[in-house]
Amino acid sequence: MATKHAGAAALFVKNDERAHWHDQALWFVRVKRDRAAQSLPEWETLRETASAIKAHTMSRLGDYLEEFERNAQKLGAHVHWAKDAAEHNEIVLRILQSHGVKKVVKSKSMLTEECHLNPYLERHGMEVVDTDLGERIVQLLKQPPSHIVLPAIHIRKEEIGDLFHEHLHTEAGASDPKYLAEAARQHLREKFMQADAGITGVNFAIAETGGFVVCTNEGNADLGVSLPKLHIACMGIEKFLPKAEHLGVFLRLLARSATGQPVTTYSSHFHGPAPGGELHIVLVDNGRSAILGSDEFRRSLNCIRCGACMNTCPVYRRSGGHSYHATVPGPIGSILSPARDAKKYADLPQACSLCGSCTDVCPVKIDLHHQLLAWRGEIGRRGLLPMSKKLPMLGLAFLLKRPWLYSLAGRVGRWFMPLVPRFLLYNPLNAWGRQRELPKPPRHSFRELYARRNQKPR
């Protein structure tokens, strides 16, 4: 019996050509990241500094939250507090309704994905348009994003051509990215012009100034909030930096880690509402303060959502973002998701080879693979392991606790394995043997060889 992730991954790799293409597309991004990182001699210093800034910020997060609130209010912004997704959605809806809003344009925000804001607003009769091209594509496909920076990385251009033909009336069979992106530009321009309100996420908020920064390449966040009078910015409470000068460190790391660009095209700093406009900032907890309380997993809150750990992950690249059945996929998602619901996401920390590549690239130096390992233990302790993992683990534990049995099993195995017919070794019960050949058993065990070596006269 495969876990949920393994089952979905098996489906993903069935299409061999697509699986390889997906793998390569992400590896290409990883290579660009390497090049960008290597162009700065101080790269490692930047990572260490970022990690230390975050450690400090988290140690006084309460103070920084209050400082931010005070300063943002001074600038004329409204600050809201939401304990969970439901409160967040309620706040956003109330603001929109009180302004008589019918049409909303939204730029990329993993937080609003996490809160399932779109379907909620739609149920209340609003049109919500995701304006990031990748997000618009998955929105039209009625899918969630499969990557936090590259939402449509799993989709082929031919499929986008079909999709746009249906929705945007592009020519049938068109698949030229330039042509399709131009069609999306025209389509979304119209949406920008008609919007009554703009919703954005937040990349970084600055306690000292009460402002925040939104990073995009397309300019969609900026367009979305500079035409209508109402801007709502939604952010998790972990996004804070104490001072504006700290942005220097984080903006240098973010885009280089994400896509290998020296910086995103737009790193926009908002301080208070636009002239004649209104600005609302919604601060959302939704499980974050609980993670902050955990010594083991606190550092996962330092994530700046660059996606580098996904691009480098051999499991993510070969199984696709949707196989993680969570808002944030990949290594960091496999840590954050079980923190939210350990039972539902018990399979994710297992979807990892513990190769440590994620830890090597993470710009804020989160010890991702250690945390994944820690989650495995945690899930075992809470009795949430799936049967397919639990039984072999129990068997192995029984064996390893009994040295005599272990050596006996080894001897029997070495003698027995070469003799048994294939179907006994390679059957559905042996998941390991599905794509692999077992090694040829040696004639003598290490212990036997070692004992003999010691007998030999020197």
Partner: protein, 201 residues
Amino acid sequence: MHDETKSRADILQSVRQYNPGPVEMPSLNREWIAYADRVQQFSDTLQFVGGTCVPVPDLAAVRAYLQNFEPYTAAKFVYSLLPDVIESTRDIAAISDPHDLEAIDLALVPGDFAVAENGAVWVTDRDLKHQRAALFLAQHLTLVVRRDELLDNMHQAYQRLQFEGVGFGTFLSGPSKTADIEQSLVIGAHGPRSLIVFLVG
């Protein structure tokens, strides 16, 4: 309807349960990257991100350049915050609704300073005011920055920056772009399709 005051108190209380005592803040005061030829670095980086850097001796040279630049000569709607260089084709001061900026073909806007390491120019709404949309609606964007306002890196940039009275400011690096269709780079996503930075002086 939930009580936001209570949520606020609950969140702050919950956050404050983690109280490890003082955790030191790292100093940013150290040697960061610097370039022997800043203009070259800026120009190369801007080109890498799809923009063009044009060093010129003075503003007259900016005008001369634009007079041979097709997006300007063919433009029906020119938006200029530097009327000494080129004139706007409309009375932009009279435009109160940013939606009326939709048809801008070319915009000319001053930037405060530029950053060599990443090809970014810091642009604020000090002069744009309610018209900040012009930066993103224009089909082609041209920026003017003084050559002696070219910094090495982002740390210097934040030393210079202050946000008093700056409601909106952005580091703008290259024209708008997307790679969301099979990782193929397409220049001109929602914002400008081209970007020129004139380094003057």
